[in-house]
């Protein structure tokens, strides 16, 4: 339809360059021999070796991965329930409060969430003696709370698209609600649950402010280590770490891009097949269609000439 790129296309290209240039520069300079980050002194992979030897960073990576895994897993369970409540149940008392509490964490500034959760944990420790000390458990609770909000948005948008009539048919045939959910709804929303899990996992890995508030001396996550070293200035080791993160994320993105594209290609092929099928129907039907097409043509032409 369109031949030459318009204004918005140029902005899109500029915007993408803006998004990717800084990361590209980080990747290039992670292979820099020199400690001075901005002066190129030859290719070297020594910063990667130093990174892997850094026990503090490696320990923090492991802590972050564990917290991320368990936070994402709990968040999708809560989010699936919440999304089901939001999309399938009719109004109940407290539904407005429920939906507010689901969406509010999406935009709540991190410093407020972190501060308020820490004060809750302190108050709980004082009154009921639990949690006795802050660490991985308290970070997990905090992460589950905000990840649930994001995962609910992802899962509920898929849940809305699921054909309700299949669920209703299953129930009409006598399947109890839970069985209907397990056999019909769950398989249909599984991709969205996977997407919600991945989103929660990355959000949990990425969080600095909330973790800093609710963590104790026992648990240091990766962003906390990175932040304290970055605050002092630029270190090539962090460039190497950044490159590894960018590489891992790009790989995951490429795989999902490939899967989505294949799915799309299959959909297009299916549509073509359908068109081909209808065209190979018997002669009389084709004649009727041809007549209809001829009859329609003048009208269409009339419209197009008017616009141009």
């Amino acid at each position: 339809m369109k031949t030459k790129p318009g204004f918005s296309d140029w902005v899109l290209i500029a915007g993408l360059l803006f998004l990717y240039m800084p990361m590209l520069i980080l990747v290039i300079y992670s292979f820099n021999e020199s400690r001075l980050v901005t002066v190129w002194a030859g290719f070297s992979s020594k910063w990667y070796l130093e990174l892997f030897r850094d026990e503090q960073i490696m320990g923090a990576v492991w802590t972050s991965l564990k917290i991320g895994f368990w936070s994402a897993s709990m968040a999708v369970v809560l989010a699936t329930m919440a999304a089901f409540v939001m999309t399938r149940l009719r109004r109940f008392r407290g539904k407005t409060a429920f939906s507010s509490m689901i969406t509010a964490p999406l935009v709540m500034p991190d410093v407020i969430t972190g501060l308020s959760l820490l004060l809750l944990f302190v108050a709980m420790a004082n009154s009921i003696g639990w949690p006795a000390d802050r660490g991985m458990l308290t970070i997990w609770i905090a992460h589950v709370t905000f990840c649930t909000a994001y995962a609910t948005v992802v899962i509920s948008s898929r849940l809305r698209e699921v054909d309700r009539s299949v669920e209703e048919a299953a129930m009409d045939l006598g399947a109890p609600p839970f069985k209907t959910f397990m056999l019909i709804t769950l398989p249909a929303i599984l991709p969205a649950i996977a997407a919600g899990w991945l989103l929660s996992f990355t959000l949990s890995l990425d969080d600095l402010v909330i973790s800093s508030f609710v963590s104790g001396p026992g648990a240091t996550t990766l962003p906390m280590v990175v932040f304290s070293s970055v605050r002092l200035g630029i270190t090539p080791k962090i460039n190497a770490l950044a490159t590894l993160i960018i590489f891992a994320v790009s790989l995951a993105a490429f795989v999902s891009w490939w899967l989505l594209r294949r799915q799309e290609a299959r959909r297009v092929a299916l549509l073509r097949q359908e068109v081909a099928d209808t065209e190979s129907t018997d002669f009389s039907e084709r004649r009727i269609k041809a007549v209809l097409r001829i009859n329609r043509k003048p009208v269409q032409q009339g419209l197009t000439t008017k616009t141009e």
Partner: protein, 300 residues
């Protein structure tokens, strides 16, 4: 499996996420509100109790001193004003850059849209901290931009970009741009193309069609994107801390300093409560849009 089928019970289905959110989302705010009325004390935890049983009677010591303190001190008032100004300008910049991007995406072919969507999403999956860190190497005095400009002979002495509000703007726009583009794209993609054709058929020029049809229809997307950028930017801590300078005053940093530096929990709580009150209107706007999305009701 038997215990799992219990979850199908409607009460449990609502109850479990509800309780979690009540306990770990709503309760914390009640406690912040409570502590904001307490006084700082040298104790563990470092604040006074509001309710005390003395001689079998309940003493309630409500102390609004923290709020008066915030209103009297220029530092806090200025921090709020400058946070909101910086967040507002950044949101505007994101909108100006993000709208054409989302528009171009929505006009691309379906195959291309998937690629573009992933390209927009990919940066937000990598570490936020590291993306801000990347700008430190670019903007600093002996950083890439200055080195490049000086070797080309455009400038003699380095431009001071790092540790200024300029760097903070770059950081916020860079970090939050995907949050602007995605809701806008999700909105623009739903528009009925026949409306544009109708407008063109009736003789409207493309820019007039855009102003009278596309822009009003995308109102919800603009609101959602703007709120997703504006609200977190107001409380932003990491970006001003890493890219900002001594002149950059933002409420997130002040709160952090008050809590971790001065260990004044009551004042930090009062700061948080005032920030929440300032953000209530934008949050309500966002919630209005988001709950429509959640429940699948659309205006257009």
């Amino acid at each position: 499996m038997k215990w799992l089928s219990l979850l199908a019970n409607k009460r449990l289905l609502i109850g479990i996420p509800y309780l979690w959110l009540l306990l770990f989302f709503l309760m914390p705010f009640v406690i912040v509100l409570k502590i904001s009325f307490a006084e700082m004390a040298i104790a563990i935890p470092p604040y006074t109790r509001l309710f005390e049983y003395v001689d079998e009677s309940l003493n309630i010591a409500l102390n609004i001193g923290n709020y008066l303190f915030l209103a009297e001190d220029d530092l806090y008032v200025n921090a709020y004003i400058s946070s909101i100004t910086i967040a507002f300008n950044s949101t505007l910049l994101c909108l100006l850059l993000g709208y054409p991007m989302a528009y171009a995406m929505s006009k691309a072919s379906r195959q291309m849209q998937i690629t573009l969507l992933l390209l927009i999403l990919l940066p937000s999956w990598t570490s936020f901290l590291i993306r801000i860190y990347a700008w430190m190497g670019i903007l600093k005095n002996n950083g890439l931009i200055n080195n490049l400009l000086m070797s080309l002979g455009v400038i003699d002495s380095p431009l001071i970009m790092m540790n200024t509000n300029f760097a903070v703007y770059i950081g916020i726009v860079y970090a939050y741009l995907p949050f602007m583009v995605l809701p806008l794209y999700a909105n623009l993609i739903k528009h009925d193309a026949s409306l544009l054709e109708a407008s063109a058929d009736l003789g409207a020029k493309p820019w007039k069609t855009f102003l009278t049809v596309t822009l009003p229809l995308s109102r919800n997307g603009v609101i959602a994107g703007s709120m997703l950028v504006f609200i977190p930017s107001v409380g932003e801590f990491v970006i001003p801390e890493l890219l900002g300078g001594p002149d950059t005053l933002m409420i997130g940093g002040v709160l952090w300093q008050e809590f971790f530096g001065n260990r004044d929990w009551p004042v930090a709580s009062a700061l948080a409560i005032v920030m929440l009150i300032l953000l209530i209107l934008p949050m309500a706007l966002f919630h209005h849009y988001q709950s429509q999305e959640l429940e699948g009701r659309y205006e257009n």
